[in-house]
Symmetry: D2
Subunit: 346 residues, 4 copies
């Protein structure tokens, strides 16, 4: 049993973390930190939690957190975490950060795509990229996790094994990704209002979305050479779910069965990764509400191309669920603890 | 640990029962019965269950069920259960039936509203109406539960305490209820297709919906005299959720605090019932994905009337969740076992 | 051909008025007034209008409007219209105001429900309540219209003929109304964000919504005595549409055919009012995208009660469409001009 | 004024054609043919049309149609049109066929992708592919139109000018397309039920969708050499709208302004095609409810690639609207007649 705090508990990634931890067998939530809602019960802000978790939000106090928490999840607005995390790290807390700040191996990549200097480059060296299925060993031995982005997790899980196995070319990779609106977080921007989103769809930030850099970092590691991808995010009128349709040219003749074997070998014993048989294409409601990622594919023989479809719940495997999975690995808990719900389907 | 079978496992109420039981600490699912999908894995029909529950559906065989199950949930199409349940009952199985067949105290009421003779009136006498918060003791001591309807649960929970306390009149009770589309079940009727339902709303079966009779049976018991209600169901473009807005004339001057006290006394220690303070009106996403019922109210002093708003997840507290709660009571398990997830909110 | 200006053109009611007028055979849009978007083309703000209407928004200048417009629609935020309308009225412009300011016969009612003193009570006396089917003659002869609210139009159209014909009692009238989210206007409030609204439903402002007073004013006129109603608005996850389910006790034995005749006589030759035969209940997509109101009903003989279901498109018959219909009446145009599109259904 | 019949009037493409024609200034609807609803008023099946169009559906009678119609729209289930169209053609009727049967230049392409022999290859030679902006002259002079598919129109409009201008390579073209559910037509298949579609998204028929062949036919003409594309359709939880995100490698250095000029020159004076300035990406609600196609693009200089986003209303420019536009061209009417409504936005 460990004591856990959540910083930024009232945003959508934060509250999803709270929801998952509420019934975690090894966790006691001791602190919820919220600047905007200090003094309010979390169940007043999210009445879904009434009778389940009724503790009060408090303002940030590093000493108080250090005294009352073993591990913290930081789901803070961009630009706030940089002032907070070094202090928490010094106190010896384990930290799982849901922002983009600690996801990079190379500070220059961060600075190029985020357009600002990195707040604490010395910590960046110590942090581990928390894509559980790729870096489980490193995760076990770190105190600071850069929890991956939602688009990122979905895309990397789909393409990493194929690049590692050298069965696709590194040029002409296209990732056409579709996200539910909760990916934008708890926001009052008009763009995310019901009337603007429902019965609407659109692409945005074409060629410039920050997650591109995170995807390229990992796929380049997989390929052993630089990989650059077209990444196009789309806003889709649903709440939860990311769907990445990935296109790559096959580097040689390979059958569907061989592709399936590459995936199944790579993700052997990975509970949360489900590989579909050739031609079976996943739907986003097969994973919604769960920490699963489903990966299906179709080989287009006419064009010598593979189309891989990957889907996760953006709030779970794409944020809070993976964060909990990272905690489970760091603390030596059962990796499925608190994450053993099947997808909702309905 | 008991062995459980689900008959009609592939309908929406059935599969929701399966989903809830998949992680129940005291249950092993041993049989899934489906006429339409015999020989198929449940995870082929609902790929959301892949890796969680991959057992095959089998056709109905009463002897086989009796041998391999201690308790069954029957979520069968109307008209099928009548041929099945007596046989299972004779074998000594505990049965939780999700149809309307065993919800009535008076066979005549059933026959009037269902327009047909009751299949097994002798069992009707032995069955218990499974509204857990009202009949916990009887549920503990029966082998056959008539699990309440979705509209019914939501409406009765809202009005029972007020009638019991005689603070509202028995005349002029109006229940205006709104349901998500999953209430119609897994159906291919054009009426429930996406294009006909989305951006649409409608009332249906005004003054004739069968659940009216179930509501009136219980409210009459509460009042100690006959209660008849206007019950109007509406179809609303969302998946999960029922929202009942109930109108009743106050029989005397009573304050919001007094009403709150009546509810809180009546539902004392009921984990799944959450009473809002006066004037706080619940939203359906405060309960969606959970077994909770939220009840809020507003007194209209100008008119001497109370408006009670009650909301549940129609598939959980309105069907599968209440069925599991009934099982927990019957078997002496922790009543929250398998039902301890907070609502999703998002 | 008249010159028309729209004040508050960029809100949802405003832009819907613009859309309807864009193809009106007798109208030239000469001015779009928007404080927030001065200097921007309307088609930049609403790209749906590109190539259809590309004129620039300008700031408010009463003299300029008076010179360039014969008639104005005012769809201004509450509190702004009061400073503007008297000036426009003095200049001799015809005005159709979509706010609540000019809908009342009795300034005291306004002040009670709006909680503030009326901005220009002297104009209130000159204004006409613009419910076209009730006040066509008066509308023809005024320069100032108080365009009815959305909930209001839907509810009054449903109940006025029955009260007029004295077939229902004035006590125990319940109006349970459901609205799409566009009724909240173009707003950045979190409550109306996609993730908070979709898969959610709720009642709000029970017993206190301002439209109650507007409904009671008209229904009291119909009845010839004071009528007070329970009015409960609900937020429903769709864009367009209002659905009012109205309950009233029948004052004597009356058949469905008689009720139908009362409605058909009352709305004889009314193009935009469609009365359903007894027992046929309308759906909101039968009117969405059009200026029609559909009214259906069911008599509950068991309870001596009638349930009337009325539905309109809140942005059209509930706002912009009725405003255009009012203009058509005031100017002597064909009442259907600019409003002759069938409902979308899909 | 011409007399028009619609065969298959009660499907979604059929009824949308009826809706658009209901107010067309040059059209009188004289016959609605429906096998399933013979003898029923169209306004009983689609009550949205009550008071607008109340004529009865009749069964198919070629002689009767020939006598009472000048032109017919055929929106028949696949496999039915082949038995009907030759007879109508012989009678000298003008025909606009919304099926795939008359969209091909090469019968072999049809037979390969449809997996069956063509019903009337001799008529295929006489038919014209009804993509108005590409084949206006031919459309003017034919009696038989193969009205393009929805995905097809959206994709071809986006890529044709770029291939024609040789600024993109013919290899590695990817079209990732998203469609609203109405694209599936009026169907009772479970896959298109509300509960299966809402809060869900998925790709389907990867590498095998028939529209691929139609797209390749036209893009090959544009390029002057064979073009093969990856085409991936997706089902998205909205009613109306297609969004095609198209990826192509630039064949040389070209600026956004140059691309914009290529598009604007190609679509000069085309009322229904709206080209966005570089970097402005369209949203599907900018066209929903209208016959417009919006095309925007972003050049990715890092990768030497262009991403083109094209969006139409699948039921209008992707079916019924384009069919009406074809009629307008064939008959010498104003091309915008009956199609001059702005998009709904809301």
């Amino acid at each position: 049993m460990i004591n856990v705090g959540i910083l930024g508990a009232t945003g959508y990634a934060g509250i999803e973390t709270v929801r998952l931890l509420a019934n975690h067998p090894n966790v006691k939530i001791t602190r919820l930190i919220s600047h905007s809602f200090e003094g309010k019960k979390i169940s007043e802000i999210y009445p879904s939690l009434e009778g389940v978790l009724d503790i009060e939000c408090v303002s940030l106090d590093v000493d108080d957190i250090a005294k009352n928490c073993d591990l913290v999840f930081t789901a803070l607005p961009h630009g706030v975490s940089k002032d907070v995390i070094p202090g928490l790290y010094e106190k010896g807390l384990k930290i799982i950060d849901l922002s983009g700040d600690f996801r990079y191996n190379d500070v220059k990549v961060y600075e190029k795509w985020y357009g600002e200097s990195h707040p604490s480059p010395e910590l960046l060296e110590k942090s581990v990229y928390g894509l559980c299925e790729l870096y489980r060993e490193k995760i076990r031995n770190t105190s600071l996790i850069g929890n991956p982005g939602c688009y990122t997790t979905c895309s990397i899980l789909a393409l990493y094994p194929l690049l590692k196995a050298s069965v696709i070319e590194t040029k002409n990779i296209i990732i056409d990704a579709k996200s539910g609106v909760s990916g934008a977080g708890r926001t009052t921007k008009l763009d995310y209002s019901f009337c603007e989103c429902t019965e609407n769809m659109l692409a945005y930030k074409i060629a410039t979305h920050r997650h591109t850099s995170e995807i390229e970092q990992e796929l380049s590691i997989a390929a052993g050479s630089e990989v650059m991808v077209s990444f196009t995010p789309h806003l889709i009128p649903l709440k939860r779910g990311i769907y990445a349709t990935c296109y790559a040219n096959l580097s040689n003749n390979v059958t569907g069965d061989e592709i399936e074997k590459i995936y199944k070998d790579f993700y052997e014993n990975e509970h949360f990764i489900r590989i579909m048989s050739p031609g079976k294409i996943p739907e986003s409601n097969w994973v919604a509400g769960s920490n699963f990622a489903n990966i299906g594919f179709q080989i287009d023989e006419r064009l010598g191309r593979i189309v891989v479809c990957s889907t996760i719940d953006n709030l779970i495997k794409g944020a809070a669920g993976q964060a909990v999975q990272n905690m489970n690995i760091m603390m030596g808990f059962d990796e499925k603890a608190g994450l053993d719900m099947p997808a909702m389907y309905l």
